[in-house]
Amino acid sequence: MSIVVDNDTKLVVSGLTGREGSFHGLRNRSYGTYLAAGVTPGKGGQEVEGVPVFDSIREAVEREAANTSMIFVPARFAAPAIDEAIESGVHTVIAITEGIPVLDMLRTYWKAKEAGVRLIGPNCPGVLSPGKANVGIIPAQFFDPGKIGVVSKSGTLTYQIGNELKQAGEGNSSIVGIGGDPIVGSDFIDVLKLFEADPETELIVMVGEIGGDAEERAAEFIAAEISKPVVAYIAGFTAPPGKQMGHAGAIISGSSGTAQAKKEALEAKSVRVGESPTETAAIAVEALRASNRGSA
């Protein structure tokens, strides 16, 4: 097993006829993801490298049995595109687009909740289940199949940690980029739940950053509901208050959202927190091997 995307994923890409959509959609296909269809309004009937293009996501669901939608639409048009995906009949929507206004996401978040559709992102690198499927822009060459689940607010930081795990001889069940925006479809807790239920995942690495209280909430949830070991990394100890550090959500406001507060909240619940990506990967490898020895 693995989570969110796997061998049953039938992908439909909104924006497949665009430059980025076609580059990444076809890259996902060459990794082994089943690319069922593309969607661009007005371009129904065309093909991109043998992949049929439809006018709407619903058509792609009806004609090609697509069950997972990836959104590459520019920010101004992205929220309506996500809404369309939610109403189309797919069970999972992965939104890569960055720069979507937060109030648009607020409405879209509740739409997805009511419809029972899993929304990942926006402003995220997507989801990779090594050896099975890749939906998004995660460079798959840095990740091998294995036992460590990774959930992260950041893209490149995840590649850094994944690469160090690979060099240490460990791999991943799934890597889920939840995105660094203030409102995301799935939080740490949503993904932690999935990893807890996934028999292939034996340890979870959680990569957080300044802003909001998702890490603090995750700490409470881990203590109450997660039986598997969790190792965390938090970025942004040197970020000054009031300055937005790249991601729209990475801003320390009021007295909350600091990296120190997040680290303390996690450590209070016995989650080990690495000082650097390198140390985090080392702790994860050590903890995984210790728990394997324990159960052997």
Binding site: V102, D104, F142, S152, T156, A214, T238, K243, H247
Partner: protein
């Protein structure tokens, strides 16, 4: 983007929320002339995007023309730091505001609650002081209510928290109406935070916003022309202005180690490991995914123009970004710019071998390669010296 107080008040006024009259002024003479028109007593208020201005000496009451000039002389041009060390911000403008006859000071706000994914309205009878201290010492004094995300937040919806906060009965309806209008401002203007502290009741029993703290979602500026214009002129730092012109995500910091990384998370992490190695980062610069050679030239131009920078660290983990592109950019930039400071480069990920070959072939003086992020951080701190 954080609006200045007077900009927030102008937004409030446009949505029918009562604010005191006033004028903005950029010089002492302008402030003195504004005070004459506004009348006495009036408040001279520093316009910087931080709290705690009063304590820092940035707000003073003038009883007459002589005092207005005296206060304006003290405030215009002063540097103010926020209570949590933000800034310093130089006072480029003051807001000259008609004095208010205050009977009570309340607190009102509407913020985006990221955890609950809803707007959260808050009200308290304990206004005019640090609300975080109120929340910590007397949590029941701060009453909260989430807005139903599927319908507008009306005065009727706000009424229960106004009652629970124990405000004076004769103004409860007006305060509830004000909260509903604040929620309307949030929705209409894409504000993720609106705080009024204090929201006052005047001797004439009017409810008036005496302060305004408003944060606008930068992602939504494309649909707010006037707010976008405010954002464009709000960048005071020369490096930040230059970076914005070049489309780079850059934040100026206080140290001497210039930093460039790809991706917001990796960049924050790079600042942290440099600090752990004993260095002080000079900036945050995210070169973004898929960085091209010309973006590297632009980034080095911005970082290099900061006179405090004594060494620069490139920390690249190539995913979509290709390390050979980055290396080409570094070589090009070295040819175009007269960089006097050492560069430490760590390239890993996609096409890193080609990237390293390009750098080796160029034989750039003052360029140091390191294999890992931690070694690179230690090296750049050693080369940068004390700030």
């Amino acid at each position: 983007m954080d609006l200045l107080e007077y900009q927030g008040k102008q937004l409030f006024a446009a949505h029918g929320i009562a604010v005191p009259g006033g004028e903005v002024a950029a010089t002492v003479d302008e402030a003195a002339a504004a005070a004459e028109r506004v009348g006495y007593p009036c408040a001279i208020k520093a316009q910087v995007p931080i709290g705690g201005r009063g304590k820092a000496g940035g707000i003073k009451i003038a009883a007459d023309a002589a005092q207005a000039r005296e206060h304006a002389e003290a405030i215009v041009g002063m540097d103010i730091r926020g209570p949590r060390g933000e800034g310093p911000f130089r006072v480029e403008r003051v807001w000259v505001e008609a004095g208010s006859d205050i009977a009570s000071e309340y607190y009102a706000s509407v913020i985006l609650d990221r955890g609950e994914k809803k707007l959260l309205a808050m009200v308290s009878a304990k206004g005019g002081m640090d609300i975080e201290a109120v929340a910590a010492e007397d949590p029941e004094a701060l009453v909260k209510q989430h807005a139903d995300p599927t319908r507008p937040f009306t005065a009727a919806a706000a009424r229960p928290i106004v009652d629970a906060a124990g405000l004076d009965e004769d103004v409860r309806e007006e305060v509830a109406a004000t909260l509903a209008k604040l929620a309307e401002v949030a929705m209409a203007e894409d504000a993720s935070l609106i705080e009024v502290n204090p929201l006052i009741v005047t001797a004439g029993r009017e409810v008036v916003a005496l302060d305004a703290k408003v944060t606008i979602d930068n992602n939504a500026l494309y649909r707010h022309e006037e707010l976008a214009a405010i954002d464009a002129e709000s960048v005071a730092d020369p490096q930040e202005a230059m970076a914005r012109e070049k489309g780079l995500i850059y934040v100026k910091l206080d140290g001497n180690v210039g930093i460039l990384a790809n991706g917001a998370g990796l960049c924050m992490s790079t600042l942290d490991v440099v600090a752990q190695a004993g260095g002080e980062p000079a900036n945050f610069l995210d070169a973004g995914g898929g960085s091209k050679a010309e973006a590297i030239v632009d980034a080095l131009t911005v970082i290099g123009s900061d006179q405090k920078v004594t060494a620069i660290l490139f920390n690249i983990f190539g995913g979509i970004t290709r390390c050979d592109e980055i290396a080409t950019g570094i070589v090009e930039a070295s040819g175009q710019l007269d960089l006097a400071v050492p560069l430490v480069v760590r390239l890993d990920g996609t096409n890193s071998e080609q990237g390293l070959e390009i750098l080796a072939a160029a034989k750039l003086p003052n360029l140091h390669q390191e294999k890992t992020m931690l070694d690179a951080a230690r090296k750049v701190v050693e080369l940068a010296g004390d700030s």
